[in-house]
């Protein structure tokens, strides 16, 4: 079991969702995130005074998958999120100790299912 966390551009979320669905991955959590990597910030101004916005709006996607789904999930996220420009985002993969479905008490592979 792996937990895959991806940070992507907000406007790519729809494309990423579509490609995940295409690979039969339907379960995910999506949250707003603020962050920065190599991409420079953008400028805002308020009453004529510049504000440098360092932290950019990003979307964080979390998907818990069984081992055979790790590669398809990563491929689907890249397929949906890549534009080739700085700021496309990153994917982190980490091992997952346990997973429990609250309703049934199932654990492990079945719970992720």
């Amino acid at each position: 079991m792996k937990l895959i966390i991806a940070y992507i551009q907000p406007e790519r979320l729809n494309a990423v969702k579509q490609s995940l669905y295409g690979s039969e991955i339907y379960k995910m959590s999506v949250t707003n995130a603020l962050g920065c990597g190599q991409q420079k910030g953008y400028h805002e101004s308020y009453r004529g005074v510049d504000i440098e916005v360092n932290l950019l709006k990003k979307i964080r996607i979390e998907v818990a998958v069984n081992d055979e789904f790790v590669k398809p999930t990563i491929a689907a996220i890249i397929d949906g999120a890549r534009t080739g420009k700085i700021g496309d985002g990153k994917i982190f993969v980490m091992s997952l100790d346990e997973c429990i479905r609250i309703r049934t008490g199932e654990t492990g592979k079945e719970a992720i299912g």
Binding site: P10, E11, L13, N14, N32, L34, Y42, H43, E44, S45, Y46, K57, I59
Partner: protein, 451 residues
């Protein structure tokens, strides 16, 4: 230190008073002489009636100008959070640009003397002198301008809703100048300036056609030339909802508009002194209220039947639809007929929204169904219920919206050809607030900008 400054200040004031005294006395003497002279010709009653009628129009003008925040709130509430600064800005500039251009050329074009056979008028730059004797029903040109410019700004600001979320700010300013400076005053002249539509007997009391349909069809032209927002229709053409981000603000806007309409319709009687005028004004106010209520109620019922749940945003549009429908005929119909007009408007607005979805035209706030479609309904209802000649009503109801639509298709197409019309796809998705203004409406809040 404080005491010393106080002393100096008092001394300066005393000097000012002593210097000013003779001048003031002189002015008072001059004013008294003028008043005495006027009083010799005009009775006290006439002066009072003049004051009341002008005050009535002034209050009406203020109420109509107060419709601007109503539009701003409706449009901001019905759109996404990432475009809020942009939509507010467009509404604010509609009034600022509208006032200046209507002063420079619009007012002269709309209420001047006929130059080309009832199709074009010109009365000079700015506002004319007050030359009439004060009496009941005589309006000072300055207050008349204030009332008229409020209507012009209303026609202009309708469009910002239908082009929301994708039109460049700079292009919008050009559009705003053209509609208040040229398009609205020219078709306004055809009827209210005494042009050819007036001559053939066309009737539009407060502007279902001349204000609302002009704005609504200009908005439709904008929505068509711009194309839909990214993600509004799926690849196979199915409409996708892009919900408004703040329904409390949208509801407040509709309530403000409803209240503002008591300036729009009743004050269009242009006088309240005299039993006939007073009675007309009060009937207009009640008819306006009944149509708004009927429009909102019926829209709710219809969406309840169609979608299994009553839908607030549609009911809000229904209220506005009823108000637009009654605007042309509120002085000519009975209370019961006002309710019928509101009921039909409430149905039409829901059908209009569905029609635009079928045609894949993206009008984010429903400006065309409300102002265009129900404006046309108001024009026709004036013939059906108001007893005005039907042929003239049909001609006016077809020609004026068509004029606005065609003129705006041309303007928006020219802007599009120069690449000035629409923001880039990346900017549209990130939001126009950041792209166009570098300023966000909800600083410190996290908003989703994922579509």
């Amino acid at each position: 230190m404080k005491g010393r400054w106080f002393g100096v200040l008092m001394g300066a004031m005393a000097v000012a008073v002593i210097v000013a005294m003779p001048v003031l006395a002189q002015e008072v003497a001059v004013e008294e002489a003028v008043v005495e002279e006027a009083a010799a010709e005009v009775s006290e009653n006439a002066l009072a009636a003049f004051a009341i009628d002008n005050l009535f129009i002034f209050i009406g003008a203020v109420l109509v100008i107060f419709m601007q925040p109503g539009f701003a709130m409706v449009e901001a509430g019905f759109n996404s959070a990432k475009n809020t600064v942009n939509i507010l800005f467009k509404n604010v500039m509609d009034l600022c640009i509208g006032v200046l251009l209507y002063y420079l050329i619009g007012y002269g074009l709309m209420y001047g003397d006929s130059v080309i056979g009832g199709f074009l008028g010109w009365g000079g730059v700015g506002i004319g002198e007050f030359t009439d004797a004060p009496a009941a029903g005589v309006l000072h040109p300055q207050v008349d301008f204030l009332f008229q410019v409020a209507f012009a700004a209303t026609a202009a600001t309708i469009v910002s809703g239908s082009v929301a979320g994708r039109m460049k700010f700079s292009s919008y300013l050009i559009y705003s100048a053209v509609i208040t400076g040229l398009i609205y005053p020219i078709s306004g002249f055809w009827k209210w300036g005494g042009g050819w539509l007036d001559a053939m007997g066309f009737y539009d009391f407060a502007g279902s056609i001349l204000v609302h349909a002009v704005g609504g069809f200009a908005g439709l032209a904008g929505a068509i030339v711009l194309g839909p927002r990214i993600g509004r229709f799926s690849k196979d053409g199915k409409p996708r909802a892009m919900p408004g981000h703040n329904l409390p603000i949208a509801a407040l806007g509709v309530f403000i508009l409803w209240v503002g309409w008591y300036g729009f319709n009743p004050a269009s009687q242009l006088a309240i002194v005299g039993a006939d005028n007073t009675a007309a004004v009060m009937k207009i106010a009640v008819n306006t209220t009944l149509a708004a209520a009927a429009g909102g109620f019926v829209s709710m019922l219809l969406t309840w039947a169609l979608h299994k749940k009553p839908e607030l945003s549609m009911a809000l549009n229904g209220i506005l639809a009823g108000l637009v429908g009654i605007t042309a005929n509120c002085d000519s119909v009975t209370n019961v007929e006002a309710i019928i007009i509101g009921v039909v408007a409430g149905v039409l607005v829901v059908l209009g929204i569905k029609l635009l979805d079928k045609l894949r035209i993206d009008d984010p706030v429903g400006a065309w169904p409300v102002h265009g479609l129900c404006g046309v309904w108001g024009g026709l209802a004036t013939g059906i219920f108001g007893g005005h000649p039907m042929v003239a009503q049909i001609v006016g109801t077809v020609v004026v919206p068509l004029w606005s639509f065609v003129a705006m298709i041309i303007l928006f197409s020219v802007l599009k050809a120069f690449g000035m019309l629409r923001v880039s796809a990346a900017e549209e998705v990130r939001g126009l607030d950041i792209g166009e203004h570098g300023e966000e409406a909800y600083s410190g809040f996290q908003i989703f900008t994922t579509e």
